[in-house]
Symmetry: C2
Subunit: 548 residues, 2 copies
């Protein structure tokens, strides 16, 4: 027997209608790439998103399910794209500007983007590959200065397309399981893979992220969205803020510590998100130049990599600002867990509290976690049993776009994260390691296997093994151990970097190199990276650092 309840589709249209209806006057503030400050309201966002949807459907002939790419920083126009593209029934495909040209080209062709919205300040990257982008019919330029010139074909200015249409437009109504957004992974093993989010997953993720045990966001908050809109939908914050009625501050390319501190002060920001690397920079800048007035910032939500304990302590002791750990991945929309103290922890010594806060935390409603041991049993929640973290939930992908491989999915429907973790008796998950082949640098995955494979493609190299080494700024950086085929014929690190540049983003390419007689091997003849890490830690791998 069915319940007798109205059909109410959980869509991005429903989110925007809600935000516009209940919080029409709330602010969206952008610090644009040209340093100018722009402020408008949810109601302005609503009207301009309607115009955008109207233009997509009636000017460009966009059809339901069409892929529309964005190549842009965080700013109000990008938020309009987050709503206006799904509002036209299409899919908002955010392209990571930090990937290599080869990867960006692959992504655009793989997703078959029909239109690409590109920031004027980022147009150079796209210009180079334009002839290869066979599916793209139009390039729409955002924030183009006067007299802007580009070699891109079929360009039009973003403001021009909005100017030509009315905001009197009926959303193209999607069913809640229809796709509304797509984001590619950073390509840890081979090419980047697409995660295709639905309206429903986007809505439920936003609703859960705002709940008090997670982000606890409301109309009382002014939130700085440092996490890029081109990466995992800025953690869904542009959607969540409309449900929460929270003011948004969008920094675009102004991500230098001083620029962030200026925004924190200027906009009286009280909450923020971002990867640890950003917060490390902000902390050091604040230490150098302590702010005249106490910052309004209360807490920053951190994901992507673990926050160093010293940073948590420093921010809290020196500036009264709390670092809150979250965990997630592109495949999980991304938020899966958040670590906050509970009443039972209040009587613990500070050191013990810090240990709990350094964990990745408890699942947010809609997410389930389990740890799968090597013997195929689910690990008990005892804080010590270790295994691969698996996740299931209302915003976890069940396949990669255009990919048939089920390698990352279990037979009973869980996603295998590649993280190695424990869960304790209070439900706190902690990532203790990760499946051996991945390196996480500045919040982005780097596949050691992919780099090894590429290096070993060099004619004078026989073996290559890449491991993660600790890095103050990026948390981890790759170090490559290399074995020359012909030891008399030198290969320089600089030469290897140039060799890798065609296939990898800059941040993925190792700047540390060690030339070895042989890579240590396991008993079954595999590269023994554990041994390499041990040697490095013991000071027995002397790496050459190349300023990359």
């Amino acid at each position: 027997m069915k319940g007798q309840i109205m059909s109410y589709q959980l869509t991005t249209n429903a989110i925007l209608e809600y935000g516009n209806s209940v919080f029409p006057h709330q602010s969206i503030i952008s610090h644009l790439p040209n340093k100018k400050r722009h402020e408008y309201s949810f109601s302005d966002l609503y009207k301009r998103s309607k115009k955008l949807s109207n233009a997509l459907v009636n000017t460009f002939g966009v059809k339901p399910g069409d892929m529309i790419g964005t190549f842009a920083w965080n700013h109000y126009q990008h938020v309009e794209l987050y709503y206006g593209i799904p509002g036209a029934g299409a899919v908002c495909h955010t392209i990571n500007i930090r990937l290599s040209e080869q990867q960006i080209e692959f992504i655009i062709n793989n997703s078959e983007d029909k239109i690409i919205f590109v920031d004027a300040s980022l147009v150079k990257t796209i210009e180079k590959m334009a002839p290869l982008l066979v599916t793209v019919e139009h390039f729409v330029i955002i924030n183009a200065p006067a007299n802007f010139e580009t070699t891109l074909p079929n360009t039009i200015s973003y403001e021009d397309i909005l100017d030509e249409v009315s905001d009197d437009f009926q959303w193209v109504e999607s069913e809640e399981n229809d796709a509304c957004g797509m984001c590619y992974t950073s390509g840890t093993t081979g090419q980047p893979k697409g995660a295709l989010y639905s309206h429903r997953s986007t809505y439920l993720h936003a609703l859960s992220v705002m709940s008090p045990n997670a982000g606890c966001y409301s109309v009382n908050d002014t939130i700085l969205l440092i996490v890029p809109q081109f990466h995992v939908m800025a953690w869904g914050f542009p959607y969540m803020c409309l449900l929460a009625g929270a003011a948004m501050v969008l920094p675009s390319s102004n991500l230098q510590p001083d620029a962030i501190i200026h925004m924190l002060e200027r906009e009286k920001i009280n909450k923020a998100n971002g990867v640890p690397t950003i917060w490390l920079g902000v902390y050091e800048a604040l230490k150098k130049n302590p702010p005249k007035e106490e910052l309004t910032l209360e807490e920053y939500l951190v994901g992507g990599s673990a926050l160093p304990q010293s940073l948590i302590e420093g921010f809290e002791n020196d500036f009264g600002i709390k670092g809150v750990h979250a965990w997630g991945m592109t495949e999980t929309s991304p938020l899966g867990s958040v670590s906050r103290l509970q009443p039972k922890h209040k009587s613990l010594p500070a050191k013990e509290q810090l240990k709990i806060r350094a964990k990745q935390g408890i699942e947010i409603p809609g997410i389930q976690l389990r740890v799968m041991q090597e013997d195929g049993n689910i690990a008990p929640r005892d804080g010590t049993a270790v295994g691969e973290l698996e996740v299931k939930g209302a915003w976890v992908i069940d396949a990669y776009y255009k990919t048939t491989s089920r390698e990352k999915f279990t037979d009973d429907g869980w996603f295998k994260t590649g993280d190695v973790s424990t869960i304790d008796a209070d439900g706190y998950m902690e990532i203790t390691d990760r499946t051996k082949d991945l390196i996480k640098s500045g919040g982005e995955w780097i596949s050691s296997v992919a780099i090894e494979k590429a290096i070993m493609g060099h004619s004078n190299i026989t073996e290559a093994a890449v491991i993660a080494i600790p890095d103050k700024k990026w948390v981890e950086r790759p170090l490559a151990g290399v074995v020359l085929r012909n030891k008399d014929q030198k290969v320089t690190p600089e030469e290897l970097i140039a060799f890798l540049e065609k296939d990898f983003a800059k941040y993925q390419i190792p700047e540390y190199y060690v030339f070895l007689d042989e890579i240590p091997k396991t008993s079954v003849g595999k590269f023994d990276k554990k041994e390499m890490r041990r040697l490095y830690a013991a000071g027995q791998l002397k790496a050459v650092l190349v300023k990359n």
Copy 2:
């Protein structure tokens, strides 16, 4: 194109699995009808709910969609029924113990309950009507004392049915649109009408209620659930608390002000819900006997009727406890809106802030409100345009159970609330009046029309009109204006009360009576209740008060 996201059914099973997995040690505390205190954990709830589902399926042969009734106070066993009945694929039908015997009998027969779970302390009511309850196969007695005797047929003790089965049971998995709960309205116009909630509506309601702009509930809270579980699912709090990880305190029949104050102190409760009448009593008791230590209670969420401003001010000024207005109805699961101040209100004078808090507040995510003017236009959100409040959303019913009438639904899919209201430019809805025929007493609707009709069934009465008059304790009470057929043949108020008792709950029966020569009439000959209210306010209707 569909998103590529896991299918994740929003069910009560998913809520309980989540609560048990993430907050296994959180507490559920019951103050039972026999005054004994009982405490156990979410993990205990989980195991006993599994046993209950197991017993329903394997001992009683319950099938998906079967209706199972509950007739009980708020306590842990009733929470087990909230999960264990849907966990067996059946529908948890909570029966309002405060309705008249005739209404209760109607409800049980209308819903075709197969089993009824009844508190030992409430068994007398059901015994009287048992022969008429033709669909009921078993009566399960909760909290029966030793040597408990009843005339009910086919009875068994609740603990006995759990003792006989294992907690190793797979939930009967429901699809999220399947029914999981049912609650009847109080029968404002004619018989009570059933609202059939789905798993999905229950889940989404719970998730939205916990959000910061609504209740803001988390693992940091210990919440007193005064709103009865037999009425609109206790505002969904038994579900919400499992998602939030909040401790629950369940008062059962201990609803006297002193009993509530004792629980507030004993359990260190910081949040609570309830109708204004309860809080009025608590306030007066606290004034008489101020607590020795400051209460931990921070705020109480109030719905059902408007909170008198004097009570909001008194609680806040005298005890530092905040009253928060919410609005909803049986047909809306029930929560639709909550009134909290926003940052923009912080600089307003206290009196202006109070005016905003006295409104019914802003829609919570998943709900849409609009005010429909008499001319058929949607009222502007200007705080002055008045009309009937209409509501739409993810937990609003789209029909009454076994009822074909579309009277309460608009052609474009909105539910007509019967409330008259305004919405201001900041989205705050305020109920200014209500459709003329309803009286709201102690949070419950009373239909003046139904009572009038019944009174006019008396052989010596020709006309009767019932209006609401203000009441300190119940907010409103009905007053009946009556015209005798034969003026020489007296009818006493006591006689009228006895005459009404067979068809109405005690609280619905007027205790104020005025004998008139004629009921004032409008130009088209209808009873002019507006004129009656005016006469009453002017002191020109001298009512006889009968202690009912």
